[in-house]
């Protein structure tokens, strides 16, 4: 078990090192997020929305920026292995579940970096007041994890197909939509201090992320084996 974890960490570390050499994925994530945020903030700003609409609309906008930025950068994790023809070597070097866990960790790091940068900036620029800040962090963490799990398995699928770029969004979005609806509801709940609704959406989020984790851990070796 500890060996498995060490190997998974090694795969993630390898990807992160390669990423920090070129910063392709991180740049596209960050630039997409910042551009969208600039557009949203310029048009709406902290004063444009009526007070009773704010928690609803701002949580929708926050998650739209996060999800679409994720779609712009996270498909790289497997596509780059196929493009640089390093996938066969990785197949030889590590067990399929290790590769899956490593890639998941890598995507998770990217998403958390994005969120750590974006969420505070969004709250400041849009004047988004959160009634329960620590629970907001929980929603971000669980939502980000669900996002990482789904995009990891979809990235593995599209790396095997043609027309990769377009297919990634086409395949990810329908799977992500239920999660997106639930995390938006959760964010609205933490912004308004609605504890019952927060607990309900958090449970739904955990169930969905958990189910997706188990299913993709089982299915990934089939996709990867080629």
């Amino acid at each position: 078990m500890s060996r498995w974890l060490a190997e998974a960490l090694a795969v993630a570390a390898k990807d992160l090192r390669a990423e920090f050499r070129t910063r392709v994925a991180l740049n596209s994530l960050a630039l997409f997020a910042l551009t969208t945020l600039a557009a949203v903030s310029y048009t709406i700003g902290p004063y444009r929305l009526a007070a009773e609409d704010r928690p609803f609309l701002l949580s929708v906008l926050l998650w739209i920026v996060i999800f679409f930025a994720a779609l712009a950068g996270l498909d790289r994790s497997f596509v780059k292995e196929e493009e640089s023809h390093t996938a066969p070597l990785l197949r030889l070097a590590a067990a399929p579940t290790v590769v899956w866990a490593g890639k998941l960790l890598y995507n998770l790091v990217l998403i958390f970096v994005l969120m750590a940068m974006l969420a505070p900036l969004f709250c400041v620029l849009m004047g988004f007041e959160i009634a329960m800040p620590w629970r907001f962090v929980v929603v971000l963490a669980v939502g980000g994890y669900g996002l990482a799990v789904i995009t990891t398995i979809v990235a593995a699928i599209i790396a095997q197909a043609m027309t990769r770029g377009a297919l990634f969004s086409v395949l990810s979005l329908p799977l992500l939509l239920p999660l997106l609806i639930i995390v938006i509801e959760g964010t609205r709940a933490v912004a308004m201090g609605d504890l019952a609704s927060f607990s309900e959406s958090l449970r739904a989020m955990i169930t969905m992320a958990g189910a997706m984790t188990i299913v993709s851990a089982f299915l990934f070796p089939i996709v990867w084996r080629d």
Binding site: I157, L171, L177, E185, E200, S201, A204, M208
Partner: protein
């Protein structure tokens, strides 16, 4: 098999005619609904049921393909997903007609409408994936994986999302409201219609998989 199949086909034909007659002529219009709108339940519920069933079959066939690696399971999964998509569209259309009569608008992003839209998107994406992979074996494997992933999200759409938000849709799954329950005549016709639609989709499924098998054989003859 052939003679039995022939007899079953005619039986299905007569059965569906009787169901349609009963739904429109025999049953009195239910109270509490505007005009004759309650009759649509005999078609809306069976199409939604068959759509769910078809997606379940597609998921099981995908699992079987990944286990056994025989092309026939891939045909089953693809045909079944196609049927599910067709019936889901029919359920959406009948639901929208009912919504227009009862609540005044065809479409209002009611949670049920939202969830069926996502469901349609998911299975449309399934066919987008199928068309993007040229190699038949790889296509079968990847689409089987996606189909199982898609099926895992379905319960979240059907049960969890409508629970979080307020919905106008009558709650069929957990029928706690005694005013919403059907009287026995309605129940009989509804069950008959469910059986008829299930039989119809089984027949369509067998025709579809036969077509796929012929296509597969032709492709191999060409090669």
């Amino acid at each position: 098999m052939n003679r039995v199949g022939f007899a079953l086909k005619w039986f299905l034909f007569v059965w569906m005619v009787v169901v349609i007659w009963a739904a429109f002529m025999w049953i009195p219009s239910a109270e509490g609904f505007k005009g004759e709108s309650s009759r649509i339940v005999f078609f809306h519920v069976p199409t939604a049921w068959v759509a769910t069933l078809a997606f379940l079959v597609s998921c099981i066939a995908s699992g079987m393909y990944l286990w056994r690696r025989e092309p026939k399971y891939d045909f089953g999964a693809a045909v079944s997903a196609g049927l599910g998509l067709l019936y889901a569209v029919l359920a959406t259309v009948t639901g929208a007609i009912f919504a227009k009569i009862m609540w005044g608008a065809y479409w209002n992003w009611d949670p049920r409408q939202t969830s069926i839209t996502i469901l349609l998107l998911i299975y449309a994406a399934y066919f987008a994936l199928r068309s993007a992979v040229a190699d038949p074996e790889k296509r079968a494997t990847l689409s089987a994986v996606y189909s199982i992933l898609a099926f895992v999200t379905v319960p979240f759409l059907m049960f969890i999302v409508p629970r979080i938000y307020f919905s106008l849709h009558p709650d069929v799954m957990t029928n706690a409201d005694p005013d919403n329950s059907l009287d026995s005549a309605h129940l009989i016709v509804l069950l008959a219609s469910l059986a008829g639609f299930t039989g119809l989709s089984v027949w369509l499924y067998s025709v579809g998989t036969r077509i796929e098998k012929i296509r597969h054989r032709r492709r191999q003859e060409v090669l």
